[in-house]
């Protein structure tokens, strides 16, 4: 090879190399993509993927309280207290603010997901029937999200489309009435769109059907009629609420489960209207673990210690209050012959629990105020599965979270109908007595001839007992506007049980702790989160926050 040839060859090499290097701009190299995600346009073009996204929307339904120390909403009322301090203790002390609110629920992330679904589903290749069911389900879920915000904050920004960053993001709050009206309209539409049933009860309990939408609407209408949200006392709202709840009762789809103790244990029973389902190994919660006394706890204990005031609220089995001289209540034997729901709800000293006898008297292994033990002398039994051996920490249990059950519909009806009328009619009695009969009270009948006010107290009592520890009481205290009266300045009580030499017990009531409750007038509406007030100049803060 001559030098000239070599030179040419080199020039060709370099030219090829340069060409290769610079011509790679077609960029197959840099054209990589994520292997672990699915692009949005694919999602709404595929019925199977649409269902997976719909599943995700159901995941956002509130259920058991998984945030430490488990059980916030029950531990800030007259139901129970938390051993653990932290969030419930702060709320009880009135130490919650726009920038620290353990009950905060500014759930616009979930709202956006429902909005995206409702927008994108319009062009999807599915049948009209599927589309209307899907839309009904998502409208139900969105209405529930908004309702759970409205009950806290009053009016909130109502956003029904997925916004872009370029949209006007400073949305105003809707009025309280406007917000309720939106939720009511959406639930009415959902009820029209949804099927009566998906074919089997276990699906009907997990997914919204027509009756679930109506039952939730019955609850929403009841709230809207309640004093907090109905300051002018518009009586027609009570009538509307009564009618909607009556529709659900009259449909005959649901009935009370005969045994109160099994409401959470017989999964997907005839009383459940809408539930969040759990399954061991796939989605678990810690209901059985959270309520263990320390002696048999695994990685958590005593989430709820029921207070003495709650215990005292249980009537005797004969239906009479314990302060009624004719009730037969014996303070030296205080747990005998009570409303049968009592020991199905509250764990009492010296009774069996998960196979062992639990002692909570002063100085006992699970005695009051021992580390990781009850702080009131009581534990919680309601809904626990005492045959469960797999409980640990925040897992090992798979009872359903029953968001709405038929007993609530009966009570919603009774309350609304009582308020709508001058004095209670037989239908109010019937609804309340169905619950008292199932409870095992004997006689279960209410005294006849109750006034509207007397009946109101009976219904409120029945809700307190029947729906205890289902995170309902706090919202009832607020919507009735009695939270201040029931909670503020109160020092709740514990039962100190002393074991005597002869093996008998002596009972003494003392305060649970040195902390009186604080519930100020302004707290009836929660503060809009501080960060949101800072970011959105159009957002007004609630009064006095």
């Amino acid at each position: 090879m001559t030098f000239a040839m070599k030179k040419k060859l080199y020039i060709i090499y370099i030219a090829i190399a340069l060409f290769l290097a610079l011509s790679c701009n077609d960029d197959s190299l840099l054209d990589v993509d994520s292997n672990t995600t699915i692009s949005e346009d694919k999602v709404f073009q595929d019925p199977a993927l649409i269902e997976l996204y719909l599943n995700d929307l159901y995941l956002d339904m509130p259920n058991f309280d998984f945030s430490f120390p488990f059980g916030l909403y029950d531990n800030i009322t007259d139901e129970s207290r938390s051993y653990w301090g932290d969030a419930p203790r702060n709320v009880v002390q009135g130490q919650w603010f726009p920038d620290y609110n353990p009950m905060e629920y500014w759930e616009y992330g979930s709202v956006r997901n429902t909005n995206t679904f409702l927008t994108e589903i319009e062009g999807s290749p599915i049948t009209d029937e599927e589309r209307s069911t899907f839309k009904g389900e998502v409208k139900f879920l969105r209405a529930k999200l908004y309702f759970d915000m409205i009950k806290r904050y009053g009016g909130v920004p109502i956003i029904t489309e997925p916004q872009d960053l370029s949209d006007d993001l400073f949305v105003n709050r809707e009025t309280i009435d406007g917000s309720f009206e939106f939720v009511i309209k959406e639930l009415e539409e959902a009820a029209d769109l949804l099927p009566d049933s998906y074919g089997d009860r276990s699906t009907d309990v997990a997914k919204a059907n027509k009756y679930a939408a109506k039952a939730l609407l019955g609850r929403v209408l009841l709230f809207w009629a309640s004093p907090l949200y109905n300051p002018t006392g518009d009586a027609s709202r009570w009538t509307r609420a009564a009618n909607m709840n009556k529709e659900v009762i009259d449909a005959g789809v649901y009935s009370l489960l005969p045994e109160f103790r099994n409401i959470m244990l017989e999964k997907n029973n005839q009383e459940e209207i809408i539930s969040v389902q759990f399954l061991l190994g796939s989605r678990e919660h810690g209901w059985d673990s959270w309520h263990q006394p320390d002696s048999q706890s695994k990685n958590f204990a005593v989430a709820r210690s029921p207070v003495q005031e709650f215990v005292d609220a249980f009537e005797m089995q004969n239906g009479k209050a314990i302060d009624d001289p004719a009730s037969g209540y014996d303070p030296t034997n205080p747990y005998e012959n009570r409303d049968p729901r009592f020991q199905k709800t509250v764990l009492v000293n010296g009774t069996d629990f998960f196979g062992n006898t639990i002692y909570m008297y002063v100085g006992a292994i699970d005695g009051i105020n021992e580390p990781y033990a009850t702080i009131t002398g009581y534990g919680l039994r309601k809904g626990t599965n005492e045959t469960n051996t797999t409980y640990s920490g925040a897992s090992g249990s798979d009872q359903n979270w029953i968001e709405l059950r038929f007993a609530e519909v009966l009570l919603n009806y009774a309350e609304a109908q009582n308020e709508a009328l001058g004095s209670p009619d037989q239908s109010v009695y019937d609804a309340v007595e169905r619950i008292r009969q199932r409870a095992g009270l004997n006689p279960y009948q209410l005294p006849s001839g109750l006034t509207k006010d007397e009946m109101r107290e009976k219904i409120r009592h029945e809700r307190y007992i029947e729906l205890a520890f289902e995170s309902k009481r706090y919202w009832d205290l607020r919507r009735w506007k009695i939270a201040k009266e029931v909670l503020d300045g109160k020092q709740f009580s514990a039962m100190y049980i002393t074991k005597e030499e002869d093996g008998s017990y002596a009972y003494e009531v003392k305060p649970v702790d040195g902390v009186p409750c604080v519930f100020q007038e302004k707290m009836y509406f929660m503060p809009i989160p501080q960060g949101e007030i800072e970011k959105n100049p159009n957002l007004s803060q609630n009064t006095e926050w």
Partner: protein
């Protein structure tokens, strides 16, 4: 107040006088010292045609508790072969195997649990079983189960260097590199079975705390990461009398692929059966896996010119392409320019007698832009997030109709315009050497403006949007500062010594950052240093309950004597969340850092000492370092004993409380600590054996040494090491290391 006292006076007296035995969980769990061994053998050599380097290394580091240890075996080699006068071929490989063993519980958790353990609890029952603890049992955690991680890393390179014979000074280099990293991890998590004695001394209860929901669980995982780098360049370098010219064109491409796989089983029948096949067949098992790709492409053009080695000029352009950006935004263009002036070569210096002490003096100036795409990668820097797409990812499992159902959930909102971040750096420097090198200095003044910073606009976009925000090329930040390094070397009658001092000061200022629309001026980031600390301003403690009533309404009320009293910053007559303010413009990153090292050698002895320090650094205590009895009943640090009482009003901490106290737990200057420090970082003393001894053993050099690191620290902060990583005290500490070693050269 309702509750009876937890301890009687007698019990308290017995504890204080030492009658009641106490458990020192630190001593029981941690070793006073742990061993570290290191061996290296290096071989170099070659002929005209071949040169080689080989190295074999071994490191064994024991941790602070049993089971914790780190081993590394490494093998490296380079071989350069000159095929002919124009072509050199080189190969290199670097292979490492690392074994990282520990308890199944992380060191951070074990430190946390040592902190939380109660001194009045005993670790074991008389029969040797594990005694019941209210908090996790650190001693049991380090002795049961394990985590074994093996990492195999290899990097193999092949390089050709070809001189182009007919253009003088031009050569071409091509390089291919193959990298591979494989991490295998086996985590055998065993619950802790605890026994409690009843009053009669019988062991009555069995607790299986922790573990996987109280059960044994085994997780095995494999992570692989493979890279291919191809690199081609043309270099030109030519000097003609006074003119020097060089140029570079470089092309580089990088492709990477990673995948991971993991398997999990639980319900093992017996502790000790630690293979997956022993796991229970009950549906509670899991297999998982995923993969990712990454790529990058760069072009670099660079030209240098110098005249008489006195005036230096350089210009370059870098074009970088990243897989993480959309097609039209993949490439970023980053130019740079620099100039240098070697003053010491100028006649006015070389000819000056008064300035003859200056042996070297160079003035430098540069301006350059660099790009970054790190903010759209995950923490490892390996996995790109493709934020220009609206993508859905796998969500949690839903149960519907009593059956597990999969879900998909939307990821962040798409940003179709996402592209490179840019930092423009201007630098001015002066380097010099005076009095024949007795004093050397390097000084740098820099100004860096980072723009198009990939940040999420979480401060300004209302939550009602409802989407997780994508990174946007939005923010701008300025950094300014200087660096100085001085060194002095000298030799006085056989005594050689050196002193080096270096220090730097840097401060940042936010030019553009999204701000919440209603944020008061005093909380705005713009115009302020990055990451200032916001909190309440403490005015000390309320000295009496009545002082609480006399003061402004503070939050929702309810304070007592000994609670923290806060300033009404906005003067609106009440203390609430609007009264937060900037409580420190310094943060946990020190603004000033410096070092001082000195040493010397005399005859066969040598010594060197290094001090390091930092200033203008503030750290905020949290969790157990700031809260009494966190989470109901957790143990806390002895420092918290300096709490407020009517007699101790000047305390570091407010009155102690049980449960929670949001008033006292707020972020305030009360919990801010100056973490400035000076640390004796290392001391190294060596002795080299005289050649007359070593020659007999055909040894070129034999040096034995003793060295120590992290020997002493001076700081106002006594509670923790001032460089602590976690403000709750839950961190694996810097250890003091003492080494004895020998270097042997044949």
């Amino acid at each position: 107040m309702g509750l009876s006292a937890q301890y009687t006076q007698q019990e308290i007296d017995d504890i204080q006088s030492g009658v009641t035995p106490q458990t020192n969980w630190y001593d029981l769990t941690l070793k006073e010292e742990s061993l570290q061994t290191q061996h290296n053998i290096n071989v170099t050599g070659g002929t005209d045609a071949i040169s080689y380097f080989m190295s074999l290394g071994y490191l064994n580091q024991q941790g602070l508790f049993d089971k914790l240890n780190f081993k590394r075996y490494s093998l490296r080699s380079n071989v350069d072969a000159r095929v002919n006068q124009n072509l050199t071929i080189s190969t290199s490989f670097d292979i490492r195997t690392q074994e990282n063993n520990g308890s199944a519980y992380s060191p951070e958790k074990i430190f946390r649990d040592i902190i939380l353990a109660y001194p009045l609890d005993v670790p074991y029952n008389p029969d040797g079983t594990i005694a019941y603890q209210r908090e996790p049992h650190p001693l049991a955690e380090i002795s049961t189960g394990y985590d074994e991680e093996t990492t195999d890393v290899s990097q193999v390179n092949l390089q050709f260097e070809q001189k182009i014979p007919f253009i003088k000074g031009l050569n071409a280099i091509g390089k291919i590199g193959l990298g591979s990293e494989k991490v295998r991890d086996k985590n055998y998590l065993v619950p802790i079975y605890m026994y409690r004695q009843d009053d009669d001394g019988n062991l009555i209860e069995i607790y299986n705390a922790e573990g996987y929901n109280g059960k044994i669980a085994l997780t095995e995982s494999t992570n692989e990461y493979k890279t291919t780098t191809i690199n081609a360049s043309l270099n030109y370098n030519r000097t003609l009398v006074n003119h020097s010219v060089s140029g570079l064109f470089l092309y580089e491409q990088f492709a990477a692929n990673g995948n991971n796989f993991s398997a999990f089983r639980t319900n093992f029948p017996v502790n000790g059966l630690d293979e997956l096949l022993f796991g229970g067949d009950d549906g509670e098992q899991d297999a998982n896996g995923s993969s990712f790709d990454d790529a990058r492409r760069s072009y670099v053009f660079r030209g240098n010119y110098s005249f008489r080695s006195r005036y230096l000029l350089e210009a370059s352009l870098r074009i970088d392409g990243s897989a993480a950006f959309p097609a039209s935004k993949k490439y970023g263009y980053f130019p740079a320019f620099s100039a240098g002036w070697l003053l010491s070569e100028e006649s006015f210096l070389t000819n000056s007698n008064t300035l003859s002490f200056i042996s070297y003096l160079k003035l430098r100036a540069s301006y350059g832009v660099v790009g970054s795409d790190r903010n759209v990668y995950d923490d490892t820097g390996r996995i790109p997030s493709f934020q220009y797409q609206q993508a859905y990812q796998v969500g949690a499992t839903l149960i519907s109709g009593n059956e597990p159902q999969s879900t998909i959930t939307p990821g962040n909102l798409a940003n179709p315009d996402i592209t490179w971040e840019r930092a423009a750096i201007t630098n001015l420097g002066l380097d010099g050497s005076l009095w024949n090198g007795k004093l050397q200095f390097e000084t740098d003044l820099f100004y860096k403006r980072t723009s198009d910073i990939l940040e999420q606009r979480i401060r300004s976009v209302p939550g009602t949007l409802g989407a997780s925000l994508p990174a946007e090329n939005y923010a701008e930040v300025d950094n300014r500062g200087f660096e100085v390094a001085l060194s002095h070397n000298n030799s006085i009658s056989g005594f050689n010594y050196f002193v080096k001092v270096n220090g730097s000061y840097a401060k940042s200022k936010v030019v553009t950052l999204d701000e919440a629309a209603n944020l008061p001026d005093y909380l705005r980031q713009t115009g302020r240093p990055l990451d200032f600390i916001v909190g309440y301003k403490s005015l000390g403690y309320f000295s009496t309950d009545s002082e609480v009533g006399e003061y402004l309404p503070q939050f929702n009320g309810g304070q007592q004597a000994g609670d923290v009293k806060y300033a009404d910053v906005n003067n609106d007559g009440s203390v609430n969340s609007n009264d937060q303010t900037v409580i420190s413009t310094d943060n946990s990153t020190p603004k000033i850092i410096g070092g001082l090292s000195f040493g010397g050698s005399y005859k066969n002895f040598d010594v060197s000492i290094l001090f390091q320090g930092a200033a203008k650094v503030q750290k905020l205590l949290s969790d157990n370092a700031a809260i009494f009895f966190a989470n109901g009943s957790e143990n806390t640090f002895a420092e918290l004993l300096d709490y407020w009482t009517p007699q101790n009003t000047d305390a570091k901490y407010p009155r102690p409380w049980e449960g929670s106290n949001p008033n006292n737990n707020l972020t305030s200057n009360l919990y801010l600590r100056d973490a400035s420090f000076v640390r004796l970082k290392s001391v190294d003393v060596g002795y080299t054996f005289p050649t007359r001894i070593t020659d007999k053993g055909r040894i070129d050099k034999l040096r034995v040494y003793f060295s120590g690191s992290n020997l002493f620290v001076w700081s106002k902060l006594k509670m923790f090491d001032p460089e602590f990583e976690s403000s709750s005290g839950r961190y694996y500490p810097q250890q003091r290391t003492l080494n004895i070693g020998a270097n042997l050269t044949f």
